[in-house]
Structures are given as C-alpha cells and as structure tokens.
C-alpha cells in the first residue's frame, strides 16, 4: 500500500519526527503526489498542532517540536514540487531589537506564522536595526517583525522605520511590532504597518499585510475588545469586515 497524506498528517501532529520523515521519503519513492503530501500531510498536520495549542491540549513545547518534525519533511518534498505550486503565504524575518533579550514572545509568533504557511526566519535577540534590513534583503522578506518588551527597547522599532525611510526602502517591507509594553497606540505613533496583541493575532495581521484573504473568525482574533487598531490604515488598504 502506498503512503497516504493522512498517515503523514497523523505523524506530524503526533510529533513523530522519524516516522513523518520516513513516510515522506517512502511516498516520494512510490510516486505519491508531493503537493498532496505537503498540503494534506505536513501543513495540515501543523495546523492540527495549532488547533490543539488553541484549545489547551498542546503547549509551546509541542509547537516548537512540530516545527522540527515538519522542517526536514518540507526540505525533502520541496525539490519535487511543480513550479506553479503555491508557495508560502509570505516571508517574514523576525527578532528582538537592540537591548532586548526576550525570546518567548517572538518565538510564539514564529511558530504561529509557520503553522499557517509563512516562511519565517528567526533572527535572534539584541539585534541592530541594520541587521534586520540586511536579512530582509537576503531572504526577500515581505515583513520585518520586531519584538520589544521594554520601554528602553521600544524606541528601536522607531529607529528601524527611520532607517527604512532614509534608505528609500519604507514601501518595500512591512514592519510589525509586538511585546508587553509595545501597545497599539505606540505602533500607530511610530507609523509601523501593524501590531498584534498576541501570537494568534499575528496570523491575520501578516496575511492581510501580504494581501491574502482574512476570514471573519480571523478578523475577530486580530481585533480584540480593547485593541481595535491592528494595521495602519494610513499605509495599508482596509479589509472587508
């Protein structure tokens, strides 16, 4: 019996790294459709992990682990995908700004975005603004994600916007920010492109910034009762409610 995408799906959400990898390898040898293995197997498995995280059955460790299960599978499948296959939802480079060493917040955003089909490059902590820009160029990013938790590190988000403006790159990349003291008001005042209350809300935000459709349920996650500002309407076109 040839491998089915459903078997890969099960191995991914159950975090069985070796089994998932072996199944994909076997499927490719057997000529199973690589697009189905990717979408119905690996990506659907990641989405199931995200769902379980959302209802409290899985935790951050499972999210991190699922990325480790999926990554080698995707690397294996990628060369077999036909050229017209729809790629990632968008490319994001993300990290903590100068002076900021907090890792959990942007780690969670990374995982949520990956689970939802974004290609995310996690850059690290305590990074100079120019490093983000260099990496955005290198990875042909759509979005630069900045994590800043402290009053003394939030101004580095504004510094990033300044660099992009001065280098004539402001419209090339969308800039999003987040972190405990990083409020929607501050995001608006800094004229960044978007802000998310939490990791889950970062998904519709990034989808919208990349011009992908955002459904009603996702919109509700992006707008919360006391945080209606989530993207910069001066720079980004609105979404249908």
């Amino acid at each position: 019996m040839p491998v089915t995408p459903n078997e890969i799906f099960d191995a991914v959400w159950k975090l069985q790294k070796k089994k998932a990898f072996d199944l994909v390898q076997q499927g490719l040898a057997e000529g199973v459709d690589p697009v189905a293995m990717l979408k119905e197997g690996v990506i659907a498995g990641l989405q199931e992990v995200g769902r379980r995280f959302g209802v409290g059955e899985y935790f951050l460790a499972e999210l991190v682990m699922s990325g480790k299960v999926a990554e080698p599978c995707i690397d294996l499948i990628n060369p077999y995908l036909p050229p017209n296959t729809e790629g990632a939802q968008g490319r994001v480079v993300i990290g903590a700004v100068t002076g900021d060493l907090h890792t959990i917040g942007y780690g969670l955003v990374t995982t949520q975005l990956e689970l939802n089909g974004f290609e995310v490059h996690k850059l690290g902590i305590d990074l100079p603004s120019m490093y983000f820009i260099d990496k955005a160029k290198e990875h042909k990013a759509d979005i630069i994600g900045l994590s800043a938790f402290l009053v003394t590190t939030i101004p580095y988000c504004k510094e990033m916007v300044g660099y992009l403006e001065d280098m004539g790159l402001r419209d090339k990349y969308k800039v999003i920010i987040g972190g405990t003291e990083c409020t929607a008001d501050k995001a608006d005042a800094m004229d960044v492109d978007g802000w998310a209350l939490n990791a889950v809300a970062s998904v519709p935000l990034c989808k919208h910034l990349c011009g992908k459709p955002v459904d009603v349920a996702e919109l509700a996650r992006a707008r919360t009762h006391d945080h209606t500002w989530w993207y910069n309407s001066r720079r980004i076109k609105g979404v249908a409610a």
Binding site: L60, G99, D100, L101, H102, I104, V151, T152, T153
Partner: protein
Amino acid sequence: MIPTIEFQQRASRGPVTAVDDFDLDLAFKVRELVAEYEIKYDAEQLVVDDRTADAIFEAAVKHLAEVGVYFQSTSRVIKYDEQEIRQLARESQQNPACVNLGKGTERMQLRYRRGSDTWAPTNYAGPAGVAGQDWFIPYVQSFAQEPSVRGFGIVPGLARLGNLDPKAGQLSEVTVALWEQEALREALKRAGRLDMNLGLLCTASTPSGTMAVMASGYRDSFNTQIGIHIMPEQKLSWNPLLLSQYCELTGVEPWQSAMSCIGGLCRDAADVAVVMLANAIAQLSYAKGGSMSYFPSHLDGTWATRASHWAFSGAGRAAERHLGLAIGTSISGIDKAWRTPLSLWQSAGVVVTSVASGLSYAWIAGHTGLEARLIGQMMNGCAGMAPGPANELAQKIMRKVDELLPRQEKQLPFCEAYDVNTVKPRPEYEKAMLQTRDELAALGMPFVE
C-alpha cells in the same frame, strides 16, 4: 559558593546548543520531573503543603542539574553539578537572608520569613510601570508619604523625556535615568523621607547605563538594587553577570527575580513552580543575593489567578524550607485593572496566599499610595494565618474576582485617581477603594493598621 569568574569558563565551554533544543529539553524534563515527584497543581488548595514544597525543591535541583541555563551570548549551556547545587542551597539555608537597605530612620530589612511567622512582610511598595513627565513626582510621592511604606522595590520609568526616547545602551538611557533620579529625590524630599531605599534604577538597566547613573551621586548601596536576573525560561547573558560582578564589588544588593510563564514551555502551575525555583537557584549561584522576587504569569501576561497563586506558593514554600531567602512578589492585579477595585480584589488574593507561603516583601505595582496602605494593612492582618483559613479566604476572594474580571475593560490613569497638585486621592477614587476594603473585610479579610 561558586566564584563569579567561574561563570566565564562555564559560559565559554558549555555544550553548544540551539535555543530551540534547549527549550525542548527544559519543557520535557520538567514534565518528567513533576510526574516523578508527583507534583500536582490543585486549584482548591492554593497554599502548598510541606510535601509538595519539598518535592518542588527536589525537582528544581534535578532540573537545574540536568538542563542547566542557556547562555544567549555564546549559544552554550551553563552546566551545574547536582552536589554543588545542594551545597549552594545548604549554605543559603544556613545563613537566612537579612538585607539592610535605607538609612537612619528609613532603615529597613528584607529578611527570611516563614509562612507561619506572625510578623508581616515588608511593605516595599513600588509605583512600577511607565510614568509621564508631568505626574512622575506626585506618583512616587503618593507612595513615599505613606508611613507604612518602608522603601521602594521598583520605581517608575519615563516613556519619554521631552522629545527624547530612552534607548538601552545609548546616551538617552543615562540622560532619562538621571532626570528620574532628580525627580525621585524631589518626591522623597516632599515626603520628608530622603533616606528611603529606591530599589531598581528602572530606565538604567544596561551595565554602562547602570554604572553611569551609580557614578552620578544620586544612588549608593543603601538605596539601590540592581537587576541581574535570568530571563524566562532559563536564559542568561553577559549583562546580568557583569552587573552581578558590579554588585559584588560595590556592596549593592542584587535584584534577583525569577519568572516563568504558565501555558508556554511550562504547561501549568506545577511546571512553573519547579522551573521558577530552578531559575532562582541559578541566580543565587552567581549573584549571591539575599532577596528573590517570583513572578509566575500566564503567557498572555495575566496574573493573580489561582494558578499563579499556587505557583508562587509552591516556589515560595520550597525556598522557605530549603533556601532561607527573603521572597518577594508583586502584589497587584492585571495591568488593565490597575487602579480599579478589581485590582484591589486581585491583590487581596495575592496577599492572603503569599503571606501564608513565606512572603517577606511585597513590591506593589500598578496602584497608588492609598492601595499600598490598604495592602500593608492586609499583610499585617494575614501574618500568621494558618494555611487552611488562608486558603478558604483566598477561595472566597477568587470567586469575587471571577465575577468582576469579565466586566473589566481598562485601567484608570494615575491622574484620575489622585489630584497631582495636592497628592491626595480624589474623593470618588478613595470612596471606591474604601468600599472595596469594606467588602473584603466583610468577606473575612483582616485589616490591621
């Protein structure tokens, strides 16, 4: 005792590890240990018993010995030997903490306290958070003028000075921090308490910023604590080590503070209690301080829940029985409830569970001087309360919090709570807080002046 310079070697020679791999080790090891030591979060019993406290200590020792601390600057893991961890704990327990701060009539102590002790924790106040230039001084003064406030753990930071943003590691960090020092001095002067301890430097947090502010003459070892803490979850870098070395050389008491997130790498309060205690022991290994704040929060930043009470109690009681440290926490509600009755209700929940769990000092975030006074009275009243009645009272308070929480929308700005010219609570604010006090008293919360 491990010499501070030893961490140079450990941070440079420990195993090279990807941060994700370290996180997974941390998460799965704590799960294994809470199962092995049968540590279970119990929402019905918020003051942890001796057996559970001992189990949390044992699990934390094993966790630190087996997982270590991730050193972000070198991408290596600082490793510990189980025997040296036990030795460290023994030495700490044999020399119970007694940290002297403040000067003259403002002299105060942070000292080791058991949950059963009848003396109340130190009211360490702390108008924490971000303040505006125009209300910074009255905000601080509102706390300093309260006689029951013995000192400050945390002072506020300015979000902006004129058009200058305070940026970590740049000239503006020092400029803004110096403005804050002058303003703090003015607030203490107005309250007639110039020799009070002021705790953290707040905006100055990098080694260079800290040293520049310390050299300015505003601060000394009698009125300062310097943050040297490990980030959640077990992440360390050169800056805290450099600042620890600085504290050791200058006699400044390090601000040790352990935090862990419920629902992140740690699943629940049981995981968090173990990891937070492991974090605390690791800080003790290089900073050698006497005080230790715990801050168990949920991943979304919420706090003062049954789970966070249990996690504090678990790590607090474990430290009480095995580390001899002065344990502190923030007696506050969630930030969207700051300066509202809900915040006082949530704070009451923290008071009753933490005082019975060995709390030694309370830094009181997001309130005003009025609530600092009321919280001080609650701590006085709860001192010596046995775990059974404490838990019973905590459960009643939490049921009220459950009712109020869904209705809470936003915090009240300080300037709407206090008249910034007279530095007195506005009548309607005072009335709401005193009414909450009366409701708490009717529920059984003792208020003692």
